[in-house]
C-alpha cells in the first residue's frame, strides 16, 4: 500500500448477534481488513435509523455499511426484514439525489462468517476508495 493513498472513512453498523460476532470471528481467525473500518455495535440492524447513516456522511464518513443477520435468522425474528426495506428505500433515495450508490451497502453476515466479514470489508473499502472523498453529503463545519 502506498502511504499517501486515499483512505476512506468507513462506518460499519453491526448487529450484536450475528455480524458483530462475525467480525469477532474474523479477528479470532486473524483475517485482515482495513483499519479505516470502525464498527458500531447495535442490538439489531433494525436499530439503525437512516438518520445515523446521514449523520455519518454529514460528519465526513465516505462510506457506510450496515451488517445484520441473514434474513430469516434474525435474533429478534424479524428485525432485519424491516432493515431490508428501510435501507432499500433510503439507498435508492440517496442514489436519486446523486450520491454514488457504491457508498452505501447492506450485507448479511452471520456469526459464522468471519471470512465473509473480512472479505466484505476489504471489498467495500476498495469500492469506496475508488470513488474518493464524500463531498456531496459532508458538512465541512463538522470536520475539524
Amino acid at each position: 500500500m502506498q502511504v499517501n493513498e486515499f483512505k476512506p472513512k468507513i462506518v460499519a453498523f453491526c448487529c450484536n448477534w450475528c455480524s458483530y460476532a462475525g467480525a469477532d470471528l474474523a479477528g479470532n481467525n486473524r483475517l485482515n481488513y482495513p483499519d479505516n473500518v470502525k464498527i458500531i455495535r447495535v442490538p439489531c440492524s433494525c436499530r439503525v435509523n437512516p438518520m445515523f447513516i446521514l449523520r455519518a456522511f454529514q460528519r465526513g464518513a465516505d462510506g457506510v455499511i450496515l451488517c445484520g443477520c441473514h434474513p430469516g435468522d434474525c435474533h429478534y425474528t424479524s428485525g432485519n426484514y424491516y432493515t431490508r426495506r428501510r435501507m432499500a428505500l433510503l439507498f435508492s433515495m440517496l442514489e436519486y439525489l446523486g450520491i454514488e450508490k457504491e457508498r452505501t451497502r447492506v450485507e448479511w453476515v452471520s456469526a459464522a462468517e468471519g471470512a465473509k466479514f473480512s472479505a466484505t470489508m476489504n471489498e467495500f473499502c476498495e469500492q469506496v476508495a475508488a470513488l474518493g472523498e464524500n463531498k456531496r453529503l459532508e458538512d465541512l463545519r463538522c470536520k475539524q
Binding site: 472513512k9 462506518v11 458483530y20 460476532a21 467480525a23 469477532d24 474474523a26 479477528g27 479470532n28 486473524r30 483475517l31 485482515n32 481488513y33 483499519d35 470502525k38 464498527i39 458500531i40 455495535r41 447495535v42 442490538p43 439489531c44 433494525c46 436499530r47 439503525v48 435509523n49 437512516p50 438518520m51 445515523f52 449523520r55 455519518a56 460528519r59 465526513g60 464518513a61 430469516g72 435468522d73 435474533h75 429478534y76 425474528t77 424479524s78 428485525g79 424491516y82 428501510r86 473480512s118 463538522c142 475539524q144
Partner: protein, 664 residues
C-alpha cells in the same frame, strides 16, 4: 459531567503486540471527562479487576471504558466489577481493541491509531450513558407442555415432581405420541408399550398434571413468567368425565370403514373410537367426518348403547384460557411424505412400506396382531429389503428430501432386521446402507449383533429403483464393495423415511415468537451451552421438535428442559434486560407504527390525560412498552416518526455520539 476512567488491557501480547497500549492510555487522558487512564497486562484477571476497583474509589469514577477484547467475552465481568464498586453496571462500555483491532491489523502505528479512535467512541458513548435497572415481574407458577409424546410426558412428570403445576396439550385423542406406535426399542429390545404406558398412567394420575387431549394451542400472549395461552378443546362428542372407556360404542358403531391412523391406515376403525387399549385418557372420540349421526342425523347407535350416557352429539369446541410461567415445545416429528421418491414405488405397491408402518406390522396390537404379513396378500414375506436414508442427506438443490441425517434410522433398521431374523429365521433380510451410523451406548454392538449373530445382509450402496413385477418387488441397487448392480427379488421393501418436524410446529413457533431453522426444527438459544432453551425467554424445547433424536436422548432432553422450567418457576420474580425500548409519552403520537413492527407484541396503547399549556387537559393515545416483554431490538425506534421511542443503552444520541467520534 461524567468522571470517566479508561482501562487499556494488553491481553498479554494479544493486544500489546500490535497496539501501543501505553500510547492509547496516554492519548485518552486528554479526552474531556476522562480523569484517569491506565493500562495493565490482564484487565480481566483478579489483579486487573482490583486495579479498576481501586481507581473507581480513588478517582470517584462515574463511568468506565475498558479497552480490551470483545464485549461478547468480558462485558459482564466488567459490569460486575462496576456493580461491586457501587457504579451502575450499565455505565461501562467496552472498546473492542482485540478482535476488531489488534488481531486484524499488523502495523502497530495503524493499530494504535484505530484503538484510540475506538476508545474515544466508547468515551463519547459513556458520556451519555445513564444508570439502568432491570425491571422485575412476577412468575406464574404453572408450566405448559405442548405435545404429549414421550418428550412431553417426561417433561411434565419432572416438573410435576418438583411440585409445580403443569398442563399437557396434545392434539390427538390420547397422549403417547410416536413411541406408543412402536413395537420394541433399541438397543435393549424392551417393548415400547411396557415402558411407556406406565408413564402415561403416572402422568394421568399425578395431581399436579392436567392433560388437555384432542386440544390445540391457538393463541399465545405475554412473556416469560407471564404467558397467557388460549387452548382449543376440540369437540370429541363424548363427555370426557363421564365416559368409562368400556369400548362398547366402538364395537357397535356401524361405520367400520374409517382408516385407522394409529395403524397408519393399514386397517380400519369405527367412526367412534379409542385409539388403542392403553390410551390416556381412555375415552372414546367421534370422528365427525365419518359419523352418520353428525353428518346427516341418522344413526345414534353409540348413544343408545352407552350405559354411562357419555355421548353428546351437540358438543362444541371449547376455548380455555390459562396463565403460565413457562412453555415447553414438544411437538415431535413425522416421517416425510414419500410422494417425491416414487422410484421406490411406495405409491405403486402396497408392499413397499415405511419403517413406522413396519413397526405397526410387527406390533402385537397392530393390524396383523404382530404376525409379520405383507399388506398386499397377507403372506409371510420371505425376502425383505430395507432401504436406508430415504429422503435424508439430500443436497439442498436436489429439490426433494432433507439435508440432515435423520439419526434414528440406522438403529431402528438394525432392530427391524434383527427382530425379523429372530422371529422368522427363514427370511432373508437385506439392508442397503450408505453409512451405518451408530454412535451411542451399546449401539454399534447392537448393529454388529444384527450382522454377526442374526445374519442380516448389509449391502453398502443405494437402491436405484424398486420394480413391482407380479407379486415380487425387484429391488435394483448397487453393491459398491462388490462393484455390482444387484437385482433382489423381494417380497417386502421397507423404506427408512426421513423424519421432519410436525407440521404444527411452524405455526406454534410464530405464536411463541420462537425461532426455527430452515427445516422447521426449533432453534436452541445456543447449540452447545443452551440446548434446551429457545432464544425467546421462557420457551423451552423438548424432544424431536429441536432436532432428530432417539428415545434415550429425548428423555434426557425432556429432563433438562424440565429442570430449566423448574429453575424458572422457582423464582418469585424475574429480572429483565434493562436495555429495552422506552416511549416518551409527551412526544408519542399514538400512531401504532411501533406496535406494528414489534416482534414481541410488547407495545400496547393507553389513553392518557395530558395537561395542555392553556391549562386544559387532553386525552391522548400513547404507546406503553412492557419492559418484561421487550427484548430490545430497537425496530420500534426507527419506525417511530416522532422519535418518542428510544432504546435504553442504545439511545439515538449515544449511537450518534459514536458516529461523530469515529468520523472526527
Amino acid at each position: 459531567m461524567q468522571r470517566i476512567g479508561v482501562f487499556v488491557c494488553w491481553c498479554g501480547s494479544n493486544i500489546a503486540a500490535t497496539v501501543d497500549v501505553k500510547a492509547v492510555a496516554e492519548a485518552l487522558k486528554s479526552e474531556p471527562g476522562v480523569v484517569f487512564s491506565t493500562d495493565y497486562q490482564y484487565m480481566c484477571s483478579q489483579a486487573g479487576q482490583d486495579l479498576i476497583k481501586e481507581a473507581i474509589k480513588e478517582h470517584k469514577l462515574t463511568g468506565l471504558v475498558i479497552c480490551s477484547c470483545s464485549p461478547r467475552m468480558h462485558e459482564n465481568t466488567f459490569r460486575k466489577v462496576a456493580a461491586d464498586s457501587g457504579i451502575n453496571p450499565y455505565m461501562v462500555e467496552i472498546a473492542n481493541i482485540r478482535e476488531q483491532c489488534s488481531w486484524v491489523h499488523k502495523d502497530k502505528a495503524i493499530g494504535t491509531e484505530k484503538a484510540i479512535i475506538l476508545a474515544r467512541a466508547a468515551v463519547a458513548k459513556v458520556h451519555l450513558n445513564t444508570p439502568l435497572t432491570p425491571g422485575e415481574s412476577e412468575v406464574t407458577k404453572r408450566a405448559l407442555v405442548i405435545g404429549g409424546g414421550i418428550a412431553g410426558i417426561q417433561t411434565a412428570l419432572d416438573i410435576a415432581d418438583a411440585g409445580y403445576k403443569v398442563d399437557i396439550v396434545e392434539t390427538k385423542p390420547t397422549i403417547g405420541g410416536k413411541m406408543a406406535q412402536l413395537d420394541k426399542t433399541f438397543p435393549t429390545l424392551d417393548c415400547a408399550a411396557c415402558i411407556l404406558t406406565p408413564k402415561m398412567v403416572e402422568v394421568a394420575q399425578n395431581e399436579n398434571v392436567r392433560i388437555f387431549s384432542y386440544s390445540e394451542v391457538t393463541e399465545v400472549g405475554g412473556f416469560v413468567g407471564n404467558f397467557t395461552v388460549k387452548i382449543k378443546k376440540k369437540a370429541r362428542y363424548v363427555k370426557e368425565d363421564v365416559c368409562t372407556g368400556c369400548g362398547l360404542c366402538t364395537e357397535k358403531c356401524p361405520m367400520k370403514k374409517v382408516p385407522n391412523d394409529f395403524n397408519l391406515g393399514m386397517n380400519n376403525k369405527g367412526a367412534i373410537y379409542i385409539p388403542f387399549a392403553q390410551a390416556v385418557p381412555k375415552v372414546a372420540t367421534i370422528d365427525p367426518n365419518y359419523c352418520n349421526m353428525l353428518k346427516n342425523g341418522k344413526c345414534g347407535l353409540c348413544a343408545k348403547v352407552c350405559t354411562a350416557g357419555a355421548i353428546d352429539y351437540t358438543q362444541k369446541d371449547e376455548i380455555i384460557e390459562e396463565k403460565y410461567g413457562a412453555i415447553v415445545a414438544a411437538t415431535g416429528y413425522n416421517p416425510i411424505s414419500l410422494d417425491k421418491f416414487d422410484e421406490f414405488a411406495y405409491n405403486q405397491s402396497k408392499d413397499v412400506i415405511t419403517s413406522l408402518e413396519f413397526e405397526r406390522l410387527t406390533n402385537a396390537a397392530g393390524p396383523t396382531n404382530g404376525v409379520l404379513l405383507r399388506p398386499s396378500d397377507l403372506k409371510h414375506p420371505k425376502t425383505i429389503v430395507f432401504v436406508q436414508c430415504v429422503g435424508s442427506r439430500c443436497s439442498a438443490d436436489a429439490s426433494k428430501g432433507k439435508e440432515y441425517c435423520s439419526k434414528i434410522c440406522c438403529m431402528y433398521t438394525a432392530k427391524h432386521a434383527m427382530l425379523t431374523r429372530d422371529k422368522y429365521p427363514d427370511t432373508d433380510v437385506y439392508v442397503f446402507y450408505i453409512d451405518v451410523r451408530t454412535p451411542g451406548k451399546n449401539f454399534d454392538e447392537f448393529y454388529r449383533r444384527a450382522v454377526e449373530e442374526y445374519g442380516v445382509h448389509y449391502i453398502k450402496g443405494m437402491v436405484g429403483k424398486v420394480i413391482p413385477e407380479g407379486d415380487k418387488l425387484i429391488v435394483q441397487g448397487s453393491d459398491l464393495l462388490d462393484n455390482k448392480q444387484l437385482k433382489i427379488e423381494a417380497d417386502l421393501v421397507v423404506l427408512a423415511a426421513a423424519i421432519e418436524p410436525d407440521k404444527s410446529a411452524r405455526n406454534l413457533a410464530t405464536m411463541l415468537t420462537a425461532s426455527m431453522d430452515t427445516n422447521d426444527f426449533f432453534t436452541e438459544a445456543h447449540p452447545k451451552l443452551r440446548p434446551v432453551e429457545s432464544p425467546t425467554a421462557g420457551i423451552f424445547l423438548s424432544g424431536t421438535c429441536q432436532g432428530p433424536k432417539d428415545i434415550p436422548e429425548t428423555v434426557s432432553q425432556a429432563g433438562a428442559a424440565a429442570s430449566k422450567v423448574i429453575g424458572l418457576l422457582a423464582k418469585d420474580k424475574l429480572k429483565g434486560n434493562p436495555c429495552v425500548a422506552h416511549s416518551d409519552e409527551l412526544m408519542c403520537n399514538g400512531c401504532s407504527s411501533c406496535e406494528r413492527v414489534c416482534p414481541y407484541k410488547a407495545i400496547t396503547y393507553v389513553d392518557k390525560e395530558f395537561r395542555m399549556p392553556d391549562r386544559t387537559t387532553k386525552v391522548r393515545r400513547v404507546a406503553f412498552v412492557n419492559e418484561a416483554v421487550c427484548q430490545g431490538c430497537g425496530a420500534c425506534t426507527v419506525a417511530c416518526p416522532s422519535g418518542a421511542m428510544d432504546l435504553k443503552g442504545f439511545k439515538s444520541k449515544q449511537i450518534m455520539a459514536e458516529v461523530d467520534a469515529i468520523c472526527k
